[in-house]
Structures are given as structure tokens and as C-alpha cells.
Amino acid sequence: MSLGPYATFIVTSYTLAATVVLILIGWIALDYRNQRARLRELEAGGIARRSGRGAADF
């Protein structure tokens, strides 16, 4: 597969798209881990939801 004289523009476009998508996925995954950890921490400290269910349980 030859990308011709404008290969730099094509490769840069795809690389940038992959980078942004990976950053989005990483950010969302990291945020999920952080929120779960904070919930567990609060529940370990004896703070419970009014329903009595664990906030991180579903």
C-alpha cells in the first residue's frame, strides 16, 4: 500500500485519531477506578447510603 507524496498528512491524521481515542478510553477507565476507590474508602469509614446498599455495588 503506497500512500503517495502526502503520506505524512495521512499517517498524522490516523495517529492523531488513535491517540485522542486512546486518551478518552484511558481517562474514562481511570476515572472509573478512582470513583470506585473513593466509594470503597467512604464505606470503609462507616458512611453508608440511606438504602443501606453499598454505593459501589451494582
Binding site: M1, S2, L3, G4, P5, Y6, A7, F9, I10, T12, S13, Y14, L16, A17, V20, V21, I23, L24, I25, W27, I28, A29, D31, Y32, Q35, R36, R38, L39, L42, E43, G45, I47, R49, R53, A55, A56, F58
Partner: protein, 262 residues
């Protein structure tokens, strides 16, 4: 499961936990197929291999508008139906929409340089998409500026509905004004004008990016629900702490008074 059932965040979290792995796998497969079809697609007779940029530029451009549409429906959900997950959906969609719009702008610019001879032109299509990007950033800033999410939700919902006026402007800008950007060649009356060799990889990539959006959006909504639970537990903790301090100081005063009286 109905829309009313999904109004319950716990039920929504159960559903996302079940659906997200399947969605992620389907997205990965479709992206792989789309990228393969894009790689083996022939060169355009005029644009050469740069036509391959279209396979990521166009899906991102479509999604930049689609996500604002999703946020507008969520805004109606907040203001009219008061659906408990509407503002969660709107808040979770904004950064994803901003990322797609950013990619549409940058890949369009990288496609424009070899084809038009310039990275940027202040024409109607490019400028209206740049305005859309700035509006996404504005919404994200507004969400962060107001601490109480339910208060922020109403302001953001109004702003989202006002900003929705930009979506038809973007779509029809190429028809209403004389722009450097080409006219619609897929979503148009009379059907697509594009050859199947380009149309099929483009549609596969569009579907893959749409699934990617659904997956990321559900995951981000799940995070937002958890964040709100953290916030409410922290408020409970603060309330418990302040009442403990209050009780403690009352007991201290009472013992001081007793010793004074003795």
C-alpha cells in the same frame, strides 16, 4: 426494560455492567474491519491516497453534530421530563463530543492542506464547526464552574438547546454559502454520489465510531453516577462530622458549667 426503569441509577448501572463488555468487543471488531477496508480502498482519481483521511474525518464530523443532538435531547429530558439521568447523559457526552469535533477539525485541516493548499479557511463550514468546538468547551467549563450538579444541569440544558441552532447551520452551510468545503455526498436527497469502493468503508467506519461513542458514553455516565454517589456520601460524612463536633462542644460546655456550679 423501559425508559422509566432506566430512571433508576442502580438499574442503569446493572444494565451498563452487562452491556459494556459486548459493546466494547463489537466496537473493536467494527473498527478493525473499517480500518482494513479503509487501508485496501483504492486511491481517488483526483485526490490520490489522501482520500483515506475521509474515513476518519467524516465519521468524526458526523458524530460532532450527533453528540450535540444527543445532548439536546438530554437537555429536554432535564428541563421538560426531569429524567434523573438526563443531565448525567448530557454531562458525560460533552467531553466525548468535544474530542470528536477536535478530530474533525484537525483531520479536516490535514486533508485540506494537500487538497486546497491551506490548513484553514474562514469559510462557513469550517467556522461553524470551530464554533461548535468552542461551545463544547463552554459547556464543559460551565459544568465545572457550578459545584451542585443539579443546579448546573438547568443552565447547561438551556445553553445546549440554544446552541442546537448551530447544527443545521453546519449541515447546510455548504448549500447556503459559497464555501471551499465540498457539498454533501452521502446524506443528501437523491442518495450518495460516492462510489461503493469508498462508501462501504466510510459507512463501516461511521458505524464503528458511533458504537465507540455509545460505549464511551455509557461508561462515562456510569462514572458520573458514581461521582454523584461519592459526593452525597461525602456530604453525609461532613454532616455526621459537624454534628459530632456540635455534640462534643455541647458536652464540653455542660461539664464546664457543672464544674463552675460545684
Amino acid at each position: 426494560m423501559t425508559l422509566i426503569d432506566l430512571a433508576n441509577p442502580t438499574k442503569f448501572l446493572t444494565l451498563t455492567a452487562r452491556v459494556l463488555p459486548w459493546l466494547a468487543v463489537a466496537t473493536a471488531i467494527l473498527l478493525a474491519v473499517g480500518l482494513y477496508r479503509a487501508a485496501v480502498a483504492p486511491d481517488d482519481y483526483q485526490q490520490g491516497a489522501t482520500v483515506k483521511i475521509m474515513f476518519i474525518h467524516v465519521p468524526n464530523a458526523w458524530l460532532s453534530m450527533f453528540v450535540w443532538g444527543v445532548m439536546s435531547i438530554a437537555a429536554l429530558g432535564t428541563l421538560v421530563w426531569r429524567h434523573p439521568l438526563a443531565d448525567v447523559a448530557a454531562k458525560a457526552a460533552a467531553p466525548i463530543g468535544a474530542a470528536f469535533t477536535f478530530l474533525a477539525l484537525v483531520t479536516g485541516s490535514l486533508w485540506g492542506r494537500p487538497m486546497w493548499g491551506t490548513y484553514w479557511e474562514w469559510d462557513a463550514r469550517l467556522t461553524s464547526v470551530l464554533v461548535l468546538f468552542l461551545m463544547y468547551l463552554g459547556l464543559i467549563a460551565l459544568w465545572r464552574a457550578v459545584e451542585d450538579p443539579s443546579r448546573a444541569a438547568r443552565a447547561v440544558a438551556v445553553l445546549t438547546l440554544v446552541g442546537a441552532i448551530n447544527i443545521p447551520i453546519i449541515k447546510f452551510s455548504v448549500d447556503w454559502w459559497n464555501t471551499l468545503h465540498q457539498g454533501a455526498s452521502v446524506l443528501r436527497i437523491g442518495g450518495p454520489t460516492m462510489d461503493r469502493a469508498f462508501l462501504i468503508p466510510l459507512l463501516v467506519m461511521a458505524l464503528a465510531f458511533s458504537l465507540l461513542f455509545v460505549t464511551l458514553h455509557l461508561a462515562a455516565m456510569r462514572n458520573e453516577i458514581l461521582r454523584r454517589r461519592v459526593r452525597s456520601l461525602q456530604m453525609l460524612q461532613a454532616r455526621a462530622f459537624s454534628s459530632e463536633v456540635g455534640t462534643g462542644s455541647r458536652e464540653e460546655n455542660a461539664s464546664k458549667q457543672q464544674s463552675g456550679a460545684a
